[in-house]
């Protein structure tokens, strides 16, 4: 199934340039989880801290659906 993915901040260094600079489409098996996507993209699981699906934070065990929009962040903070 098709999903749309954005990867942010220090996690971008693990991706090829086209995927590092913005949103990209990804084909994943039906019922794939966020954890599966992290593995598919070659991101170190220990560096993934917050994952959004359609604007809501979800655990890595979350099972994705067609056209879900995913955002993957490392540990970040601000003020």
């Amino acid at each position: 199934m098709h999903i749309n993915v954005k990867v942010f901040a220090t996690l971008r260094r693990y991706l090829p340039e086209e995927r590092a600079k913005g949103a990209f489409d990804l084909e994943v098996p039906d019922g794939a989880s966020l954890e599966d996507v992290v593995r598919l993209l070659g991101l170190p699981a220990g560096e993934v801290k917050v994952t959004f699906v359609n604007g809501r934070t979800e655990a890595l065990s979350y099972r994705l659906r067609e056209d879900d929009e995913v955002g993957i962040f490392p540990p970040l903070a601000g003020g």
Binding site: T10, P75, L76, G79
Partner: protein, 582 residues
């Protein structure tokens, strides 16, 4: 023995006195708020003779404790009409601490519009008339004082403070002596201006080290906290903050649909990626030909989160562009250009105004039709009006609430007259509870529930859940304590996840003071500070009706999630209702 320096602007005197025994442990916000409560009538005019302005470094400031060069400034706020504390990271803090000055109290007013500079060094304090800095921006003022006195600690006001505008802040110098570290929120720069004080110069050359009661205990605590900061992914070298600074949150809040856009009418900005921390990092890389990591704002900081934005020709445009600033002038005003945002940041620094209030006010002015949304040059023009002190400039300089009133705007995102920072309460309900109930007005650092609600720090809670009274209260009390010890609030990210770091923070304090505080004392002391502040606000006329968010947030859904503000009044009143009375 620590001293208080009491400066009377009317009598032109500066004299030292002993710190009262009841405040022998109180520093930072604990001391500034205590002295404001003791010495300032809550009903006084904030720009009149009865208000006082108090500067106090924290408990461990000036020692080798990591990331501890913070100074609190307190008084009655001309913006909110309530008590105010706002703090900055700066060498001024460590220098005042090493001179053994627990608090500088500025009181009274000069009789005839004179301006002064206060000079403090190991030989004493002198309040000297100074007319040569009148009207100068903070960059020129700081340059002049550094040029004349060397590598000293400087704080000053810009023209906005001299004109007593309610969004005026107090500007401290950073490690490179830039005029860029702000006690920004709440208009304390206007209080300083109302007292005719243009600048303070602090020189600790020849001063002894800060006294430490139990050096072994302090050292043990220092090591634990340092280790926590160096190992946590957010605070460690080349970690999140050191690489991207706070502006890295733009993309995260945008993803969450909680990035207030177009004056809090939407939760996402289509140009978010163009102005986020990643874009700053990449932009610098393209313009400098190399990767630039962030720097320390003050002595002893090992987190080093301050960025520097560069112009196309590779020269430094401004330092630094924080998340709050890039949001206030970016998404909130719908400006998607980092060079414009950088220019607006520089102007705020120089004119001497709080970037959050300035951006929020420009957005309200846009809503009111003064200039269009997205008009970067128009925004620059409005800040120039502020600098010149034109009638429009005075309106803008008075903040978002006043500007909204003047232009008939309903969508005015303020609490207790202070502009909301960069998180929409309709999506992040806990920060909304903090905005509503903090003694400071709409203030994010006062109780930064964003940590568990969005960042996954100190646990993970659902940002949309409305039961947030206890969470906000715990963050508010812990923060009041951290605001008193001189550590940057960013140690919270490490100490909330690493218990050893939390222990280390307490051991540092016990080491310096000779106290026996335990974990429970953090909340107890924080709660005492808040209770005292709330008493002051009550005396100033505040009631629970002021612990509410603006009405429009209850009926305007925020796209994309289309949530409204639906936290009950009972939940809001439970925040402080849950604190044991003093």
């Amino acid at each position: 023995m620590a001293k208080i320096l009491r400066v009377d602007m009317g009598a032109e005197s500066a004299a030292f006195e002993e710190v009262p025994d009841k405040y022998r442990f109180a520093r930072g916000r604990w001391l500034t708020s205590s002295l404001v409560v003791d010495e300032v009538q809550p009903t006084c005019h904030p720009l009149g003779p009865s208000n006082k302005l108090i500067f106090s470094p924290g408990i461990v400031t000036g020692t080798t404790a990591p990331t501890s060069a913070r100074i609190s400034v307190g008084g009655k706020s001309p913006l909110t009409g309530g008590i105010k504390e706002s703090n900055a990271g700066t060498k001024f803090a460590t220098m005042q601490a090493r001179l053994g000055i627990a608090g500088i109290v500025i009181q009274g007013q000069p009789k005839n519009g004179s301006q002064y500079v206060l000079h403090i060094d190991k030989d004493g304090a002198r309040l000297l008339p100074e007319d040569g800095l009148r009207g100068l921006g903070t960059y020129a003022t700081t340059d002049a004082l550094i040029g004349k006195y060397g590598n000293v600690g400087v704080c000053c006001i810009g023209p906005a403070g001299e004109m007593r505008m309610a969004m005026a802040g107090i500007c401290f110098n950073d490690l490179e002596n830039r005029a860029s570290r702000y006690s920004g929120r709440g208009g304390l720069g206007a209080v300083m201006g109302s007292k005719g004080l243009k600048a303070i110069v602090v020189n600790s050359r020849g001063a002894p080290a800060v006294p430490i009661a139990n050096k072994d205990l302090f050292e043990m605590g220092r090591k634990k906290l340092t280790s926590a900061l160096r190992s946590h992914d957010i605070t460690k070298p080349k970690g999140g903050l050191n690489t991207y600074g706070t502006a890295v949150l733009v993309n995260m809040l945008n993803e969450a649909g909680g990035l207030p856009t177009r004056n809090f009418s939407r939760g996402r900005f289509e140009k978010a990626a163009d102005i986020a921390g990643e874009a700053i990092f990449e932009g610098n890389k393209a313009r400098l030909g190399k990767e630039l990591y962030n720097h320390a704002c003050s002595p002893g900081c090992i987190i080093q989160c301050s960025n520097t934005w560069h112009s196309e020709d590779g020269s430094e445009a401004v330092s630094c562009i924080e998340y709050e600033t890039v949001w206030a002038f970016g998404p909130d005003c719908e400006i998607g250009d980092l060079d414009v945002i950088g220019r607006l940041t520089w102007l705020c620094n120089d004119i001497g105004i709080d970037t959050i209030e300035a951006g929020g006010t420009v957005a309200v002015a846009m809503e009111g039709g003064v200039i269009p949304f997205g008009d970067g040059q128009g925004a620059i023009g409005l800040l120039e009006e502020v600098r010149k002190g034109t009638p429009l400039g005075h309106i803008i300089g008075a903040g978002a609430a006043v500007t909204g009133k003047v232009f008939g705007v309903v969508r005015v995102p303020v609490v207790k007259g202070q502009s909301m920072p960069a998180y929409d309460p309709r999506v992040v309900k806990g920060i909304g509870v903090t905005y509503a109930t903090s003694t400071m007005g709409a203030d994010h650092t006062a109780g930064y529930t964003i940590a568990p609600e969005i960042l996954g720090v100190s646990g993970k809670v659902d940002s949309f859940d409305v039961k947030k009274a206890e969470l906000s209260r715990n963050f508010q009390t812990t923060t009041a304590f951290i605001d008193s010890i001189g550590h940057c609030l960013f140690i919270a990210f490490a100490i909330l996840d690493f218990p050893e770091g939390f222990e280390g923070m307490i051991e540092e304090c016990n080491g310096v003071l000779g106290t026996n505080w335990m974990a429970e004392d953090v909340g107890r002391i924080g709660a005492e500070i808040l209770a005292r502040e709330r008493d002051f606000n009550k005396g100033a006329g505040f009631t629970s009706a002021d612990d509410r968010l603006p009405e429009f947030m209850k009926y305007e859904p925020l796209p994309p999630h289309n949530e409204v503000w639906n936290v009950s009044d009972e939940e809001l009143d439970a925040v402080h209702g849950g604190l044991a009375s003093r």
